[in-house]
């Protein structure tokens, strides 16, 4: 397995290249971890492994974007708090998000003329979308879709490379 792709020497600072670099490094780290630990086929282990890779992908994507966008900030915040406190924080933040969502729903539904329901669904999908109005939400969604596309392309390419 050749995990290291030949990244060109010139630091092409596109989002794509940054994401690729970060993601590959994270994959390396994960693989090293898995090699040291026993390869477990229990579902829990499998799930954990999948989660690690997914989080690595999301975090490297958000880091490639940096603090420029609200959704990347929200995602980094969520991952950091998730890693820090574990279950308790998750439970509490879940409740808080619930409350905030309800509250936000009440407000936004009053303001919105069309697409109130879809706006709330979108808020759940896009990270950090709960505290945004419709205008910002649409902008963040557009950027998020672009970044997701990049992410999928890169990961697909990596999967191709790994499987050969």
């Amino acid at each position: 397995m050749n995990p290291r792709r030949s990244i060109s020497s010139n630091p092409a600072s596109t989002v794509k290249s940054r994401f690729t670099n970060g993601f590959l490094k994270a994959l390396l780290r994960i693989n090293r971890q898995r090699i040291t630990s026993t390869t477990a086929y229990t579902p829990r282990e499998i799930f954990r492994g999948y989660l690690r890779v997914k989080i690595a992908a999301d975090v490297s994507m958000a880091s490639a974007i940096g603090s420029r966008r609200a959704w990347s900030r929200a995602m980094l915040r969520k991952v950091r708090s998730h890693g820090r406190d574990g279950a308790q924080v998750r439970r509490m933040s879940f409740l808080a998000m619930r409350k905030r969502n309800l509250y936000g729903k009440k407000i936004k539904c009053v303001e919105e003329d069309v697409g109130c329901y879809q706006a709330n669904v979108l808020r759940k999908l896009v990270p950090g979308g709960a505290a945004m109005d419709m205008c910002c939400l649409l902008g963040e969604t557009a950027h998020y879709i672009k970044c997701l596309n990049t992410q999928v392309k890169v990961m697909r390419r990596i999967a191709e490379v790994f499987s050969t």
């Binding site: 579902p43 799930f47 492994g49 205008c135 879709i145 697909r156 499987s163």
Partner: protein
């Protein structure tokens, strides 16, 4: 007597656009009939058959007698107070009676001034800030004048282009102002004084300062509308109200702002917000495929579906990269028949529970595979027996692929255990078989083609 002169000026200026034609009339008639017409006017005014329909005659004659004899006016109605400038035509006629003879000369050469003044006023208010309200108000005023005064034919033709130019907001402003005299600013004071006097005479002294304040050429289209409203209300007899009160007349005169030209800050903010949202929606439409929806709600639905799809792809791809394909494939295989959504997205909450059920069977599968591989190395027969004991069978890969593609929509291939002998390779068969299973269950094409590609690559 001062107010009277100003009132006269007011009338002249407001009836302005006809001035040109009336001046012509005046010039024509002046030499001939000055004295005669003054007497005629006296008759008419005294008879006071001054109904709105006969305005033409009254106006023509009133303006044609530019220097009437001084005695004629004073003869008419000495009793009438000049300050009582009511809105009724009757009163108008009466009020014009006690005009100061001295002011007639003023009236005479103030025709030009008032003509210019009113035109400039109109231009100024056209070019002023609240174009729509002012234009609408001015247009309304003009129309009322038209209706109420029944201006002469030549005057009508001169007047009608004005509302038209007012109506077409910006384009014709220059055109309309081109044939008016240019110098506007110099007459502001006179115009203001004109309106002050006019309004003051109508509404009493109390409201005059209010309207002087309002009458500034600064912003406040609605205010200007109001200001127009009061003299318009004053002059107006056609809307059949004829009420002297300014307050009830004003709301009726105010014109609703045209679409896209509201001056209310709230509506402007609303409009900006809507425009921004429309921009963002257009940008999103380009990103999302299959975005030919015109409806906003369906567009949002498409966007939501696309975001969900992309997130699902990321999850699947992150799964496919875990160490061995063996670990990944069962999960992937179980996900895909359900469209992948439920199983994967439930990863946060109860994915563990779900995977327990599914993965346990695959767990045993893997164990079985290892067992069979071990057995095959030892004894083929025992391997077959072991398989049959488990309810499994062996079949060639080609057959397996054929079956899998044929039954690709089978939801839960419990008979998944198609362990194919792989031409002698024992231990490598698990990966092969698993991969074929993967390709089989992914034959729906719901999830991405990359996984399929990887399987095809590894098969060769």
């Amino acid at each position: 007597m001062q107010p009277c002169s100003r009132e006269m000026q007011g009338i002249n200026s407001l009836l302005n656009p006809t001035q040109i034609s009336l001046q012509d009339l005046h010039d024509q008639q002046q030499q001939q009939q000055s004295q005669i017409q003054s007497s005629q006017i006296h008759h008419q005014v005294q008879n006071s058959h001054f109904d709105p329909t006969s305005h033409d005659d009254f106006l023509e004659q009133m303006f044609s007698t530019i220097p009437p004899p001084s005695c004629s006016w004073s003869d008419l109605n000495p009793a009438k107070t000049p300050a009582a400038w009511d809105l009724k035509p009757r009163d108008l006629s009466d009020d014009t009676a006690p005009l100061n003879p001295d002011n007639n000369n003023n009236v005479a050469f103030q025709f030009d001034d008032s003509a210019n003044l009113a035109s400039k006023l109109r231009n100024h208010q056209i070019s002023g800030s609240a174009k729509s309200a002012a234009a609408a108000a001015a247009m309304m005023l003009q129309q009322q004048l038209l209706m109420s005064r029944g201006v002469a034919g030549a005057g009508d033709s001169g007047l009608i282009p004005m509302p038209l130019s007012l109506g077409s907001a910006d384009d014709n402003v220059d055109g309309s102002s081109s044939f008016k005299s240019p110098n506007l600013r110099a007459h502001d004071d006179s115009v203001q004084a004109l309106f002050n006097g006019f309004a003051g005479s109508m509404h009493g002294p109390g409201q005059t300062p209010n309207q002087t304040q309002h009458f500034h050429h600064s912003q406040g289209g609605p205010v200007q509308g109001q200001n127009y409203g009061s003299p318009a209300a004053a002059m107006n007899q056609a809307p059949a109200s004829g009420s002297a009160g300014s307050a009830p007349a004003q709301p009726r005169q105010r014109v609703r702002a045209r679409r896209g030209q509201a001056t209310d800050p709230h509506s402007i903010a609303e409009r900006l917000r809507r425009e921004r949202i429309a921009e963002r929606m257009k940008a999103l439409q380009e990103l999302v495929p299959n975005a030919n929806k015109t409806d906003k709600a369906s567009m949002l639905d498409e966007i939501i579906d696309y975001v969900k799809f992309l997130q699902l792809q990321v999850k699947v791809l992150s799964m496919s990269r875990l160490g061995g394909a063996a670990a990944v494939a069962p999960l992937v295989a179980d996900m895909s028949p359900e469209g992948g959504g439920d199983c994967v997205q439930a990863g946060g909450g109860n994915g563990g529970a779900q995977r327990n059920q599914t993965a346990s069977s695959n767990d045993t599968l893997m164990v079985t595979e290892h067992q069979v591989a071990k057995l095959m190395e030892e004894d083929m027969g025992s391997a077959m027996q072991y398989l049959q004991g488990k309810g499994l069978c062996l079949m060639p890969i080609s057959l397996a692929t054929a079956i899998s593609t044929a039954t690709c929509h089978s939801r839960n291939p419990t008979n998944r255990p198609v362990l194919q002998p792989n031409g002698g390779e024992g231990p490598s068969s698990p990966s092969m078989s698993v991969l074929t299973v993967q390709s089989a269950t992914l034959g729906n094409g719901t999830v991405d083609a990359s996984v399929k590609d990887s399987t095809s690559v590894s098969k060769t």
